[in-house]
Amino acid sequence: MTSAAPSISMLYQPRLARRKACNVVFYVTGAAVCAMTVALLATLIGVVLKDGWTFLTVRFVTSFPSRIEPELAGVKPALFGSLCVVLMTGVISVPLGVGAAVYLSEYAGDSRLNRFIQLNIANLAGVPSIVYGLLGLAVFVRWLHLGSSILAGSLTMSLLVLPVIIISAREAIAAVPQSLRQAAYALGATRWQTVRAHVLPSALPGILTGVILSLSRAVGEAAPLLIVGAAAFMLSMPGSQAGGGAWNKLVAIGTDNFAVLPIQIFNWCKEPDVVFQQLAAAGIVVLLAALLAMNSVAVGIRLWHQRKRTW
């Protein structure tokens, strides 16, 4: 019997050296791919920082674009426009998207219609953004007579990000353990009470991830807003012509023409003069910083909620 021992131990090490080599190769490949991604990003940030460095002052975010003295130009109206659009997009799309996700996963049964709706939402998430721009132009700008306004732009962006928000919120809600719901029902909670007090708080980190990703996309998109008619250059702030109270001001902002950062950057990039290229680079840094700030706030909220979670 002793003669069988080595053969058994051999049985547990078939081609061990080869498998270990494979492991090393895979590790190295993975690390290289990861390093390449980081290096690409670092190169991008390095290049725009180098080009835009001289313009990265507080003045850059507090002044207007200028053709006369590009050295004094800034992105104030574009930054303000971008923030308005993303804020309004969030206000419109988050309740709609999360509401739809709650309905689809908690209330609607597993009917054929429900599956059809979900299939369509998944497809909508893959529709090119320019198509949403055309839809926004036809429906919001023309049919609803909103003109090329911040409101029309935000509504268009909401259409664009809604599918992503719905899908990610649905995934997050589906990941909440069934036992949690059953425990709530067992204690006599209604479906709404269960959703509000247990399912939504537990799913919040996942929902927020989807919201962050989609709002970040809304900040960076240029194509749909170009179609909707965002201005290339604004020399005063949206709504600055309106008088009266805060409400009048808000309405004026919502219905005024606007510029956004990506389009401003795009238009500076088109200029032959090197100073405009530097302005574009500085604009890119501001856009990245705005994105990063948004993301970190949301990541913070997510971490905080994850720590509270006990399962």
Binding site: S63, I68, F233, L235, D256, N257, A259, C269
Partner: protein
């Protein structure tokens, strides 16, 4: 809400400070309010931008959003079916077309045609290309006409070296493309399809710069902005005397026929109703030389006689297009063409 309005006041003060800082003291005059929506050609938009900036320095209450859709797309917005969506001014790097004039007539839109500057088209080659100093219009036509068989420099003119020819030009949406094809090929928008098109003149400059056998064309001001990186080609319009574009030859029309007028088209109904629009157009014409020759605009101003005629033309409120009476390719005398009461406007109103 309070913090928002505080922020708002702060930003207003700041913006005022910035604008005043830019333009120095502004003359005291009636303070206008309102909005002037401008769109159109990417070639002309620097003129619109500088005009708006200077105007805003004196009239900060007028909001002037400027879009850069291109001349054709700009005319679509200028002549929109929905009156509430129409732009007040379209910046155009070519005259309005008969088709666009028909649309305007169908919708009962009267417009003022305001020539504001001249621009030359620069034909350029790679800096390493020392053999091609000039081209005749005929040679350009053979290179650019539809289905042209010319793929090598030695097919352009006997004596040119064996070097593959690669072509760069503005995209088919640009007014520059319309203008070049009309003058060179003889029919607007008729052009061979195997060239590298780009709406972005910077990319065209880079393309010609990085390609030894390249030949490209774009607005003369873009050449001014990239001098030294490209070689300029003189153009022989058929009389055996090649002319290179520069500020002087473009202004006097000696650089013929590749120099062209640039226009503002102004919605006449808006113009009649809105004092801020009248003030803006008057301001732009009054300061035209300063605006057009600004180092970040770099077009060639019209001469004083021409500006005087255009001012009178606008002041008289003459609707319709006078440029239609001018045949592309022949020397253009704007002063004579826009003299009020002279040269009957077919679509005058």
């Amino acid at each position: 809400m309070k913090s928002l309005s505080n922020w708002w006041v702060g930003s207003m003060v700041l913006s005022g400070a910035v604008v005043c800082g830019l333009a120095g003291a502004s003359p005291a005059q009636e303070k206008l309010r309102g909005k002037i929506v401008i769109d159109g050609s990417s070639t002309v938009h620097p003129i619109g931008l500088v005009a708006a900036e200077l105007f805003n320095a004196a009239q900060p209450g007028v909001n002037i959003p400027i879009g850069v859709s291109g001349t054709g797309a700009g005319f679509k917005k200028f002549l929109d079916k929905d009156a509430s969506l129409r732009t007040s001014i379209n910046l155009a790097s070519r005259p309005i077309t008969p088709g666009e004039m028909k649309t305007a007539a169908d919708q009962k839109i009267d417009f003022l045609e305001v020539p504001i500057a001249t621009d030359g088209l620069a034909v350029v080659v790679n800096p390493s290309n020392t053999f091609c100093k000039h081209l005749t219009l005929e040679e350009l036509k053979r290179i650019w006409e539809p289905n042209s068989a010319i793929k090598n420099w030695n097919q352009v003119r006997p004596g040119f070296p064996d070097l593959a020819l690669s072509l760069y030009g503005p995209g088919t949406d640009s007014g520059t493309f319309d203008y070049f094809t009309e003058v060179v090929v003889g029919k607007a928008r008729s052009c061979r399809s195997d060239f590298s098109p780009n709406e972005n003149d910077t990319i065209l400059v880079k393309g010609v710069e990085g390609d030894k056998g390249s030949l490209g064309y774009f607005g003369y001001s873009y050449y001014e902005g990239s001098k030294g990186r490209l070689n300029l080609v003189s153009i022989d319009s058929g009389d055996g005397k090649p002319v290179a574009p520069n500020m002087e030859t473009v202004r006097t029309g000696t650089y013929h026929p590749l120099s062209r007028p640039l226009f503002l088209y102004v919605n006449k109904e808006h113009y009649d109703k809105r004092p801020e629009l009248r003030a803006f157009v008057a301001f732009t014409l009054e300061n035209a030389v300063k605006i057009v020759a600004h180092k970040h605009v770099n077009y060639v101003p019209l001469d004083d006689k021409a500006y005087a005629a255009v001012k009178a033309h606008v002041a008289a409120g003459v609707a319709g297009s006078r440029i239609q009476e001018h045949k592309a390719g022949t020397p253009l005398d704007i002063a004579a063409l826009y003299q009020p009461g002279v040269g009957g406007s077919k679509s005058g109103g």
